[in-house]
Symmetry: C2
Subunit: 325 residues, 2 copies
């Protein structure tokens, strides 16, 4: 097992990325390897007395956040994204994690790791664990979807949750603008029919965005546009309310004392809601373990993404997806 990490991608790269990788290595002996510019990586490792145990995969090119994804990954073959995507393809015992451009990582995964047979379009799957583990997909890989993608997303998400939790027949719900069967856009009405009629899917119906966090579903399927809006709206409002709470608590000496009384409990609850606690979002449907970490990942987020990658490998998520599809 090797977890390849893109040292060059993300808002806080390379420092926080490398720090997270090292945390994973020391805390749970993660078999990490760093992909990136050797000099830059070695500079970040300068504090360590012995770096002989850290594998570095050297690359000379890098892909920026604003480059056209497909063009960039076609041209820059000696970039961390292309190297990582190829290494993910080599073996199901490998994983590749990057906090770089989502579009470029997806393009690299499609071009160099390839798709699992039977899957038209891979999806970005975001795992949350608020009341229980839940997979939400697609979260932005496919802004334009066809109805037939939805049952595929459902099966990918179910296989993923199944591998992680042992749940035999994960319940799948369709994100929609009403709970009634007839609700939604033309796309969602057609997707709903396909989900209902596919016996391999344990479809429990529509769920509105206000009900997702407390839903009984294990898997929520949606198009990449709506999924992205849902997840970012949730992230935005939780952050907004968190900031508001801080303001309330830091108001004066009395509120500061009040804050002390509940600080521990709030910190615990907040950790549950923080996407960083659950690492990255795997690209499901890709023929290898490719995981997108949040662009603003800190060391903790990277450490958790490594943990998630190790779990995906040890639980053989890809093998199980292969069997299901």
């Amino acid at each position: 097992m090797t977890i390849y990490i893109d040292a060059m991608g993300g808002d806080n790269a390379p420092k926080a990325i490398i720090e997270g990788a090292l945390m994973a290595k020391s805390e749970f002996n993660a078999p990490i390897a760093l992909i990136g510019d050797v000099e830059t990586i070695e500079r970040c490792l300068a504090d360590r007395k012995d770096t002989s145990d850290i594998e570095i995969i050297p690359v000379t090119e890098s892909i920026g956040m604003h480059e056209e994804p497909v063009k960039a990954v076609r041209q820059k073959k000696d970039s961390s994204l292309v190297k990582g995507a190829l290494l993910a393809k080599e073996s199901y015992e490998n994983a590749f994690i990057s906090a770089g451009s989502t579009g470029a990582l997806l393009a690299a995964a499609l071009l160099y790791t390839g798709r699992i047979k039977g899957i038209q379009r891979p999806a970005i799957c975001t795992a949350v664990n608020i009341l229980k583990p839940m997979a939400i997909l697609d979260n932005g890989a496919n802004a334009d979807c066809k109805p037939e993608y939805f049952p595929q997303f459902a099966k990918l998400g179910a296989a993923y949750i199944s591998a992680l939790t042992g749940e035999k027949r994960p319940a799948v719900a369709l994100l929609n603008i009403g709970t009634e069967d007839t609700k939604g856009s033309e796309l969602y009405k057609a997707a709903h029919e396909l989900l209902v009629s596919d016996e391999a899917i344990n479809f429990i119906g529509n769920v509105e965005a206000s009900g997702v966090l407390t839903s009984d579903a294990d898997v929520i399927v949606c198009d990449g546009f709506a999924g992205n809006v849902f997840l970012k709206a949730t992230e935005g409002s939780l952050k907004f309310m968190g900031d508001m709470l801080k303001e309330v608590f830091y108001h004066n000496i009395f509120t500061k004392l009040s804050a002390l009384g509940v600080k521990k409990a709030i910190t615990e609850k907040k950790a549950k809601l923080d996407p960083k606690t659950y690492g990255g979002s795997p690209f499901l449907g890709v023929n290898g373990n490719v995981i997108k970490a949040h662009g603003n990942s800190d060391a903790l987020a990277i450490k958790n993404a490594v943990l998630q990658a190790m779990r995906m490998i040890s639980e053989n998520v890809l093998g199980k997806i292969y069997k299901t599809i």
Copy 2:
């Protein structure tokens, strides 16, 4: 000026609806009239010594939440929704408020109140006032949109905000899955181009769902599916975090004491985030003041919806929309 209120629609009808209407009447002398079954309304008014000052518009039919909207409003002409839609059409000095089925209210508004010339599809506009007043539309009237609807939504929202705040050139942003100009689905890329090239619109670019609440924009435009997902995701996560806070504060005697210290400040902040504080969502593009109140509206929500309706009339929002379009 008359504010017609559907006494029969909504989860808490008729009691909470009538209570809210009466609150508006006594608190700011709102010129209310109740539409509904006379006997039911009179029973709810039984506590009042003198009911001679309450106008009742009697109807004999009612439209349920699960009826097919267009069919229902075509057949049940003596329902509160049809009556209210017709009264809204009679004069821009009238308004109609309902907490009933969104689909049926929209169908009634389209069929009986009619559209403003030049508007292909009216939109449900949700006004929030978190850091400043902001209009978000469409919120569910049009699950399937064409690119050309977006500039119309932009103009409707801008005229609305302009009338309410006096802002001369409201800034319009497009909800999207990335801030770069080239991001989004085919629909959103086309909508973006139309918004950029329309000089009547002060278009400031894309905004991601995570940035809406803190955005500089006065108006956020999106299709009805994404708008609904955004608003319900926001509602759901705020409620979720609110419930979580309650749990934290009610944990033991120490946390309860802590809660006392910040209760007032949190209640104030929460009121700002509660959609009920800002009444209902007007259907913009309809040729009359038609306002949808939240299905679970309580008396306070109805009172605030009445206040909003009065403001729409006194600020002549419809007249200003007519001029702009």
